[in-house]
C-alpha cells in the first residue's frame, strides 16, 4: 500500500526541428497530486494530453524533467523502474511471447530469487482470483484477447506491488468484454486495496471506475475530482464537454437583463445565478452549456429556458431517442423519450431548467459563478 505524491512534475521534450506534427504532444506541465492510500485514480483526457506520459513517469519508464515523484515519501525520480516496486498493465499487454502463462506471471518473482514454492503459491493464487488456472501452461499466442488481458492483470497481481499502473488496459477488448473487465478490475481493487493509477481516454471508463479522476488536456491538469463533481461542477468548458455522453451542448449567448439569448433560444436565469454573474459588463456574452439529458420536449411556453430548431437527425436507441436539432448555427443533441413523434425537418421546441445549465466565460472557457470549493479546485495539493 502506498501514497503516491506528484509535486510540480513536468516532462518537456527538446523540440526537434524537422519533425512533423505537434512537437509538444505528450508533454506534461506542473502536475500535482497526492493519492490516498489505496485510492483508485483515473487519468483521463484526449490522446496526446500527457496522461500516459504521467503514468510512465510514475513507472520510471520516462524521466520527469522537473518536480518530484514520491512513493511513500521516498523520492523515486532517480530510481530505476525495477526498484520502484510497481506493477504495470500495458495496453498491448506486453506478455512475453516465448514464456508460458505461468512463467509470464512468475518472471518478476523469479528475478527476485523468490523460493520456488512461494512463486508457485502466489502464481496459483493470482490465477485463481482471475480464473485463469486452466491457461497456465499455454503460450500467450494461444490465448484470446480477453484471456491475455487477464494474464496481464495476473502478472501484475502476483507481484503484490505497492502501486498498480494500468495504461489503457481495456482498449483492445471488444465492447462487451470491456464492460465485464471494468467491473472485474473494480472488484479486484476493492479486494486488494492497492493504490492504482488507471489511464484511459474513455470517459465512461473513468466515471465508472475512478474514485478520483484527473482530467488532462495539453499536458495540464484541468480538474481533479470525484466522478459526481466532475459531472455536476466542471471547472471549465473542456471538462464539461469531455465528461458525459453524449457531450454537453454549447450555445453562444448574449446576456442582458437577467436573460441569456441567442438565435433560436432564450433562458431567464434564476436570481442566484444572476448574482453570481454579477452585473458587470464582463459577461455581455458567454457560453451556455446544457446536457442532452436535461432537454425536454414541451408544448407549453412556460418560463425557464427553451430552444427550438429543425430536427436533422433522429437516433432511436431503445430506452431513449437522440435527436439533433439545428439551433442557429449549432447542432444541439437532446435525449428524448423513446416514442418521439417527430419527423426530420419538423421544428421542435425543447425546454430546460435554468438550474441545470452551465455558464462559461466566452474568452477563458472557465465556469462562471462557480462557488470556489477548495476540494474541487485545480490545485488540490495544498
Amino acid at each position: 500500500m502506498a501514497i503516491v505524491e506528484l509535486k510540480n512534475v513536468a516532462k518537456r521534450y527538446d523540440s526537434m526541428p524537422g519533425r512533423k506534427g505537434n512537437e509538444h504532444a505528450n508533454a506534461v506541465e506542473d502536475f500535482n497530486l497526492i493519492t490516498r492510500d489505496g485510492e483508485f485514480v483515473v487519468l483521463v483526457g484526449p490522446s496526446g494530453c500527457g496522461k500516459s506520459t504521467t503514468m510512465r513517469m510514475i513507472a520510471g519508464l520516462e524521466h520527469n524533467t522537473a518536480g518530484e515523484i514520491r512513493i511513500n515519501g521516498q523520492d523515486v525520480s532517480a530510481v530505476e523502474p525495477r526498484d520502484r516496486d510497481i506493477a504495470m498493465v500495458f495496453q498491448s499487454y506486453a506478455l512475453y511471447p516465448h514464456m508460458s502463462v505461468y512463467h509470464n506471471m512468475a518472471f518478476a518473482l523469479e528475478l527476485k530469487k523468490t523460493p520456488k514454492d512461494e512463486v508457485k503459491k502466489r502464481v496459483q493464487e493470482a490465477a485463481k482470483i482471475l480464473d485463469i488456472e486452466y491457461l497456465l501452461d499455454r503460450k500467450p499466442r494461444a490465448l484470446s484477447g480477453g484471456q491475455r488481458q487477464r494474464v496481464a492483470l495476473g502478472r501484475a497481481l502476483v507481484r503484490q506491488p505497492q502501486v498498480f499502473l494500468m495504461d489503457e488496459p481495456l482498449s483492445n477488448l471488444d465492447a462487451r468484454l470491456r464492460v465485464e473487465m471494468r467491473a472485474e478490475i473494480t472488484r479486484l481493487h476493492r479486494r486488494l486495496g492497492v493504490t492504482t493509477f488507471y489511464v484511459t481516454h474513455d470517459q465512461t471508463e473513468a466515471m465508472t471506475m475512478g474514485q478520483r479522476i484527473v482530467v488532462m488536456r495539453d499536458g495540464r491538469i484541468q480538474q481533479i475530482d470525484t466522478p459526481y463533481n466532475l459531472y455536476e461542477r466542471p471547472v471549465n468548458r473542456f471538462v464539461a464537454g469531455f465528461i458525459g455522453t453524449p457531450s454537453m451542448n454549447f450555445l453562444k449567448a448574449d446576456y442582458q437583463g437577467g436573460t441569456l439569448k441567442g438565435k433560436g433560444f432564450s433562458c431567464t436565469l434564476n436570481p442566484h445565478q444572476q448574482s453570481a454573474l454579477g452585473d458587470s459588463a464582463q459577461c455581455s456574452q458567454c457560453w451556455l452549456g446544457i446536457r442532452p439529458e436535461h432537454l425536454h420536449q414541451t408544448e407549453a411556453s412556460t418560463g425557464g429556458g427553451r430552444l427550438e430548431g429543425a430536427v436533422e437527425v433522429i437516433e432511436p436507441l431503445g430506452p431513449v431517442t437522440m435527436a439533433q436539432v439545428r439551433v442557429g448555427e449549432t447542432l444541439v443533441t437532446a435525449q428524448l423519450a423513446a416514442h418521439l413523434e417527430v419527423q426530420i425537418g419538423d421544428t421542435l421546441t425543447l425546454a430546460f431548467d435554468p438550474d441545470q445549465i452551465h455558464l462559461f466565460d466566452i474568452e477563458s472557457d472557465r465556469t462562471l459563478g462557480l462557488e470556489t470549493d477548495p476540494a474541487s479546485s485545480v490545485q488540490a495539493t495544498a
Binding site: 526537434m16 504532444a25 523502474p81
Partner: protein, 300 residues
C-alpha cells in the same frame, strides 16, 4: 530522428557509446583507416620494387593514371559491364518476378530453382561458364550450336566482355527477381481490388498500381547492383584474367594488376580512389534512401 516519446524506448541513461564502440572501432580500423591510407598512397610516388624511392608526388599518380590508356579501357569496360548487366538483370528480373507472382503448381520449387544461381560462389560460376558452357569445343553451348547446324562460337576470345556479362547476369538476375518479387508481394491486396473495381484492365493495373509501388524497390535494386557490378572481380579472375589484351579488364582488376604485378602502389591507389568515387555516386542515393527509411521506420 527518434521515435515519438510515448512509445519510444525507456529514456534511461544507457551505455550506448560503450555498446556501439566495438563495432565502430572495428569498421574504423578495417575500412576507414585503410581508405584514408589509400588516399595518402595515391599522393605518393611509391613502388614496392623500389621502396627507397618513396616520396610525396602530389597529383603525379593521377596524371599518370589519366594518361594510361589501359585505365580508360578499364573504366570503359567497367561502365559497359555495369550498364549492360543492369539492363539485363533488371528487365529479366522484373519479367520473372511478374511470372512468379502468380499462384501455380510448384511455384515455390520453380522459384527456388530460378534463384539458385545467386548462391553459387562467383569463382565457381566463372569455371562453370568458362569450361562446361562456353568451351568452344566441348562446351554445351557449342554442342547446341553444332547440333543446330551453326559454327560454334569462341565466346571467351571473340566476345570476352559479353561472356562476362552473361555470367554476371546469370548470377544476379535471381537477385533482382527475389527482391522485385518480395516487393510485388508486399503490394496491399486492397489496392489491387480497388483498382479492379474501378474497372482497370491488367495493363492499367500494372501501369498505375504495380509499377509505382515497385518504383522504390527498383531503385534499390539498381543502386545495389550498380555497386556490386562495379566491383566484379572473381568472375573475371577465374575466366579471362582481364584478357584477351585488356578486353575484360575492369577497374578492380586493373587495380589488382597494378598493385600485385606492377607493384605500383601510388598509381593503383589513385585508381582505387576512382573506384571509390564511382561507387559513392551510387551509394549516396541509396544511403539517403536507407536513412529516410530509418526515420519513417522509427515512427513504429
Amino acid at each position: 530522428m527518434s521515435a515519438p516519446p510515448t512509445n519510444a524506448s525507456p529514456k534511461r541513461r544507457a551505455p550506448t557509446k560503450r555498446l556501439m564502440a566495438p563495432s565502430v572501432l572495428f569498421l574504423l580500423v578495417w575500412m576507414i583507416v585503410p581508405l584514408a591510407m589509400t588516399l595518402y598512397y595515391s599522393l605518393q610516388d611509391y613502388n614496392l620494387m623500389m621502396p627507397d624511392m618513396r616520396g610525396f608526388a602530389g597529383g603525379l599518380s593521377y596524371e599518370l593514371l589519366f594518361t594510361d590508356p589501359v585505365f580508360w579501357d578499364a573504366l570503359l569496360n567497367t561502365l559497359l559491364l555495369v550498364v549492360t548487366c543492369l539492363l539485363i538483370t533488371v528487365v529479366a528480373g522484373l519479367a520473372l518476378a511478374l511470372l512468379f507472382n502468380r499462384t501455380f503448381v510448384g511455384r515455390g520449387i520453380a522459384r527456388t530453382l530460378a534463384i539458385s544461381p545467386f548462391f553459387v560462389m562467383p569463382v565457381v560460376t566463372g569455371l562453370i561458364w568458362k569450361y562446361m558452357l562456353l568451351d568452344p569445343v566441348y562446351g554445351l553451348f557449342s554442342w547446341v550450336m553444332r547440333s543446330m547446324g551453326f559454327e560454334p562460337i569462341e565466346w571467351l576470345s571473340s566476345y570476352p566482355l559479353l561472356s562476362v556479362v552473361m555470367m554476371i547476369s546469370w548470377e544476379w538476375t535471381p537477385f533482382a527477381l527475389l527482391i522485385l518479387l518480395t516487393g510485388l508481394q508486399s503490394l496491399p491486396e486492397d489496392q489491387l481490388e480497388a483498382v479492379r473495381l474501378d474497372g482497370a484492365n491488367r495493363w492499367q493495373e500494372f501501369r498505375h498500381i504495380v509499377l509505382p509501388h515497385l518504383g522504390q524497390v527498383l531503385y534499390v535494386v539498381v543502386m545495389l547492383e550498380s555497386i556490386f557490378f562495379l566491383t566484379s572481380f572473381a568472375e573475371i579472375y577465374a575466366t579471362t584474367s582481364g584478357g584477351p589484351g585488356t578486353a575484360t579488364t575492369n577497374l578492380p582488376y586493373y587495380i589488382y594488376l597494378g598493385a600485385f604485378f606492377q607493384y605500383d602502389i601510388g598509381l593503383s591507389s589513385a585508381a582505387a580512389i576512382g573506384a571509390v568515387v564511382l561507387a559513392n555516386i551510387c551509394a549516396i542515393f541509396l544511403i539517403r534512401f536507407v536513412a529516410g527509411n530509418l526515420n519513417a521506420g522509427s515512427q513504429r
